[in-house]
Amino acid sequence: MDVGQMQRQWLDYTRSLFIEGFLDNQFLQLQQLQDENNPEFVVEVVSLFFDDSERLLKDLNFALDQQGVDFKKVDAHVHQLKGSSSSIGAQRVKNACIAFRNFCEDQNVEACLRCLQQVKQEYCLVKNKLETLFRLEQQIVAAGGSIPMMELGF
């Protein structure tokens, strides 16, 4: 595959992530912040998001596993996850967190457990997608090409 083909593949893949709702405008914001002086910015922020999320998902598992569930604590964890997913544009994770918080309010353990599964699923999906995207970027750069700029108006 030549560089041009790889770049087109990258564009198609990125577009699909937006169309399918995995990513939203905030992800584009992050891409805008990347330049020659900070070529790894997006990868760095997303890595922080991955670390943060994995910690929070563990904490959520733990909190919901308790005999007497502390819903305030559960809500606090979900709030954090909602915040960081929103900050990187991981739309579906964010939406799953919003739904989750509603059930925390209701103090419904069963529903919360289902929500947690949903959040985990969305997180795994977006993690895979982003890792694929970053791999494509590495291939382009390794082949001497540059990463295209995403257009906002697609």
């Binding site: 405008n25 905030q26 584009l28 914001q29 992050l30 891409q31 805008q32 912040l33 330049d35 900070n38 910015f41 760095e44 922020v45 922080l48 998001f49 943060d52 709030h79 954090q80 909602k82 915040g83 960081s84 929103s86 900050s87 990187i88 544009g89 700029m149 257009e151 906002l152 108006g153």
Partner: protein, 233 residues
């Protein structure tokens, strides 16, 4: 890294922003947003750390200590933080004779009108609904100038004006990303009427922009250009 910027033969210092947020992801993003907007940034993870850096923490009984705190031109803080909230931090800063002239901006993921009102009434200069975008930071540059370091009334005049109840009107309407600029045209003269020059569509993150995005952003980064644009009211 130099703190002094030179452009068109004019030398000026970069504005220094203190960013407070318990989320590592958000700290990284806000730091980058500010740096790309030609600001020097110090990012901390709590209100307590912020107060310590400023030299305003409880440890000091008087502000006439020898301690020279960090000189900042703007404080931007998350609202929801464990321990000291952004609101508490705001109150502490506005309650200090040394620091109350520093503009404070609150960020929150939750768009709660009573919360926004409370913050503005307590003297917050602005309220940003997360996630923070480049257009939000650009708007902030209006409040930022190194002149406030001298606690001068000139640039900082808007600060105390923002404390009144009537100041709440502007930012209440920041209800969604796409309406971020709706309220700009209706700003009361006492507060931030200098915002209006920023409402040009090319700056908005929500409008399509086919060209590589780094160059349009760069051209507006200079604090000098920023000051020239806003001008006098």
């Amino acid at each position: 890294m130099t703190q002094v910027m030179e452009r068109d033969g004019v030398v000026s210092e970069e504005v220094h922003v203190l960013a407070v947020d318990d989320s590592l992801v958000d700290r990284k993003v806000i730091e980058r947003l500010l740096k790309i907007s030609a600001c020097k940034v110090t990012a901390v993870d709590s209100g307590i750390s912020a107060l310590q850096l400023l030299g305003l923490d409880e440890q000091r009984t008087s502000e006439s200590d020898d301690f020279v705190g960090l000189k900042v031109d703007l404080i931007i803080t998350d609202y929801c933080m464990p321990g000291m909230s952004g609101y508490d931090l705001l109150k502490k800063i506005k309650g200090s004779s040394t620091f109350r002239e520093i503009p404070v901006v609150i960020m929150s993921s939750e768009n709660i009108l009573p919360r926004i009102d409370r913050c503005l009434e307590e003297g917050a200069k602005d309220f940003i609904v997360k996630p923070v975008k480049l257009s939000d930071v650009k708007r902030l540059k209006n409040y930022m100038s190194t002149a406030t370091r001298d606690v001068s009334a000139a640039e900082a005049g808007g600060c105390s004006g923002g404390g009144g109840g009537g100041g709440g009107g502007i930012n209440k309407r920041k209800l969604s990303d796409t309406t971020a600029f709706d309220y700009l045209s209706s700003s009361p003269p006492s507060i931030s009427s200098s915002i209006t020059p920023l409402s040009s569509p090319s700056d908005s993150s929500s409008s399509p922009s086919p060209s590589p995005l780094s160059s349009p952003i760069r051209s507006l980064d200079s604090p000098i250009r920023r000051l020239k644009m806003t001008g006098a009211d």
